[in-house]
């Protein structure tokens, strides 16, 4: 199996699906000639032509409206939003149209489409090139929300997202676009949506994360191991609909849970998972449900190193869950 970065794996996924299914069309700002500002779509226009891979005017609302309308007609649009921070001019299309199309039409219409967009911090991008707004999408019935954490995961999940009958917001952790390489299965390769991945089994505490932070969790795990703490690590992968059963199973085993996300804490995905566990598994719980998250502030520029959850904060969170610190 070839080694790939996350960007390469995403490109590969797009190429595989475009070759297989000519309903798949890719567009967005600078995705054509330029190959995307992060090069995810590089080479695709040469290979598949300007009708299937093309640049758009600078208007996210137009991009998303175009995606919605194309999907309505049976195509499989994959729209890129250059940074998810810039999606909001088109948010009405997402929340009012895309998410509700199947329901409001009584199933007459559906909009199988993918909105791909880089998200998250770690690139010195300041307020508007760093945000993690997955919680907003995950509050909207009718959407699916997917975030991969590694190159092979990215490929398998993106192909599944393209094939899915429902609209998927596919957020890509730009921090690890290039930094991580791994072997990625060739050709068609899918990972089912809606299922969490057990990255490591463990018995003392469940740690749930996703995206770029999963790697920070894995680093923190080194410290935990040294301290003799056995963590069960879950990669959530699909944020909506999330894999409640796997989560409950894990907590039933460990009795402790720490949830690690980049977004501001209030109303983050960590909050939902915590609430879910507190509602369903309170009898298994031997400690507080701990959220390790970004702070409840806009994303800072100069102070970014102090914003994102890091090994120290994750380890501290685990100690709190275990009652080792107050």
């Amino acid at each position: 199996m070839p080694e790939m970065t996350l960007v390469q794996a995403l490109r590969d996924a797009l190429a595989v699906e475009m070759a297989r299914d000519d309903r798949v069309v890719v567009f967005g700002e600078d995705v054509g000639r330029r190959g995307g500002v992060f090069t995810v779509t590089e080479g695709l226009q040469e290979r598949f032509g300007e009708e299937r891979v093309y640049d758009t005017p600078l208007d996210e609302n137009g991009i998303l409206g175009m995606a919605a309308g194309m999907a309505l007609m049976g195509l499989r649009p994959v729209a890129e939003i250059q940074f998810v921070d810039f999606l909001w001019p088109g948010f009405d299309v997402v929340i009012s149209d895309i998410a509700k199309e199947r329901f409001r039409s009584g199933g007459q219409y559906g909009v199988p489409l993918v909105i791909r967009s880089p998200y998250g911090g770690g690139v010195k991008g300041g307020l508007y090139h760093s945000q993690s707004p997955e919680a907003i999408f995950a509050h909207i019935p009718g959407l699916k929300v997917v975030i991969p954490a590694t190159p092979s995961e990215a490929k398998g999940l993106l192909i599944s997202a393209i094939r899915d009958e429902d609209p998927v917001v596919f957020l890509e952790p730009k921090k690890i676009y290039f930094g991580i390489k791994e072997e990625v299965p060739e050709g068609e390769y899918t990972i089912p949506l809606g299922q969490a991945r057990v990255v490591q089994e463990g018995s003392d505490v469940t740690i749930v994360s996703y995206g770029a932070l999963l790697h920070e969790v894995l680093r923190a795990n080194e410290t935990l191991k040294q301290e003799g703490i056995s963590a069960e690590i879950l990669d959530l992968r699909t944020i909506l609909p999330f894999d409640g059963p796997t989560l409950l199973e894990s907590v039933a085993k460990t009795g402790r849970i720490v949830i690690v996300v980049e977004a501001p804490r209030i109303l983050s995905v960590a909050s939902e998972l915590a609430a879910f566990v507190a509602e369903r598994a309170v009898d298994y719980l031997d400690g507080p449900i701990v959220r390790v998250t970004g702070w409840d502030t806009p994303f800072p520029y100069a102070l970014e190193p102090h914003y994102l959850p890091n090994v120290r904060r994750i380890v501290h969170g685990v100690r709190r869950a275990l009652g080792l610190v107050p």
Binding site: G62, G65, G90, D97, Q108
Partner: protein
């Protein structure tokens, strides 16, 4: 409707300061062109057009009655726009697609939607192709190539643009027509739809009913542009300003731009000058913002009266035919309402279906929970 040959229509003038029209306010032809020649409409087609307008009006009247009787929760009217609405729909081909707005539904029988379906939507029963999922005025039907609109004003325009892109991509010789009021031109969606349509040369017709008010806000406070049609310039294509109470002019312009769009993917904007004869909706009180006399004056110039007068002028219509038509439609509508109502309300489980293609585990749980509460509730009522 049997179409005249493609590409045979003379070209209407874009960007006029006065609305294009054949019929004056009395319904008599003005100018030196015979509208039948310009539009290619036969006498039979003219009568069909009028019949469809009358049917739309009568469906609308029943809508109001259903609200007054408490059988429908809400209603929003087409009255004053029947001519432009019906004529523009008739100017399309079966392969074309329609993005309605909330005043369009009473005319959608033109696309083949049955009266039972239309009233099913108004009543929120299983006779609605969308299963009673939305408020009245939100009819859509895939088999008739009618999209399902949402309530946000102008949202349909930008989605229609995407549908037009798909038609072009798939090399289908079809257009998408997207309807809206003049208020919809202020929304961002209008801008995005128009700009993308211009850049990609999409077979999209944005059809604007300038009925001079957006609820209470008059046209002059909606935008400072001289005409709405004018706005097409900003996007590199043509806008047409047409008298929306003249169904023949509307037919001509719509048919022309639709044929052109099917042939060479030229988008177009149409502004049809009309007037909303009713309050904005069943929840509105229009006396708060417009004088009764203004409304009354417009009732004299509206499309039904004009078209009837024109048919009479041609010797194609008379009072007897009018009476017979009303009797026929009264019966049909009564029957349809009854059938639509009898289809009954959707099952409780319908709340959880089609949120997704495949219902996820927690929605299955919630469905069971909801069912349990509903049964308890019934139990306690018993």
């Amino acid at each position: 409707m049997q179409a005249p040959e493609h590409g045979t229509l003379t070209r209407p003038t874009p960007f006029t300061r006065e609305p294009l029209r054949f019929l004056n306010e009395e319904g008599l032809p003005e100018g030196d062109r015979d509208p039948r020649e310009v539009t290619g409409l036969s006498d039979a087609q003219l009568v069909d057009l009028y019949r469809a307008m009358v049917l739309s009006r009568k469906v609308d009247q029943m809508g109001w009655i259903l609200v007054r009787q408490g059988r429908a929760g809400f209603y929003i009217s087409i009255q004053g726009q029947e001519g432009a609405q019906v004529a523009s729909l008739l100017a399309l081909e079966p392969q074309d697609w329609v993005m309605p707005y909330y005043r369009t539904p009473p005319a959608l029988h033109v696309r083949g939607a049955t009266l039972v379906e239309l009233f099913g939507q108004i009543l929120g029963t299983n006779a609605d192709p969308s299963k009673g999922r939305q408020m009245p005025a939100h009819f859509g039907s895939r088999k008739h190539r009618i999209f399902v609109l949402g309530s946000p004003v102008a949202l349909g325009h930008v989605v229609a643009m995407g549908a037009a892109k798909a038609l072009k991509y798939s090399r289908e010789n079809a257009v998408v027509i997207s309807y809206g009021g003049e208020g919809s031109t202020s929304e961002p969606h209008f801008h995005s739809a128009m700009n993308f349509a211009g850049v990609y040369r999409l077979p999209l017709i944005v059809f604007i009913f300038n009925n001079q008010y957006a609820i209470s806000v008059p046209r002059a406070q909606q935008t400072a542009s001289e005409t709405l049609a004018e706005k097409a310039r900003a996007y590199g294509f043509e806008g047409y300003y047409v008298d929306g109470s003249d169904p023949l002019a509307v037919y001509w312009v719509t048919r022309f731009v639709a044929e052109r769009a099917r042939t060479n993917h030229t988008p177009a904007l149409i502004e049809a000058l009309t007037y909303r004869l009713d309050p904005h909706s069943s929840a509105d009180d229009d006396l708060k913002y417009r004088p009764r006399e203004e409304v009354e004056a417009w009732k004299q110039r509206e499309s039904l009266a004009r078209m009837r007068r024109y048919l009479e002028h041609l010797g194609l219509w008379n009072e007897e035919k009018e009476q017979a038509l009303h009797a026929e439609y009264d019966r049909a509508i009564e029957e349809a309402v009854e059938q639509a109502e009898q289809a009954g309300p959707p099952d409780l489980e319908e709340m959880f279906h089609e949120v997704y293609h495949t219902t996820p585990w927690y929605l299955q749980e919630e469905a069971r929970e909801a069912r349990r509460f509903a049964e308890e509730q019934e139990g306690s009522h018993a």
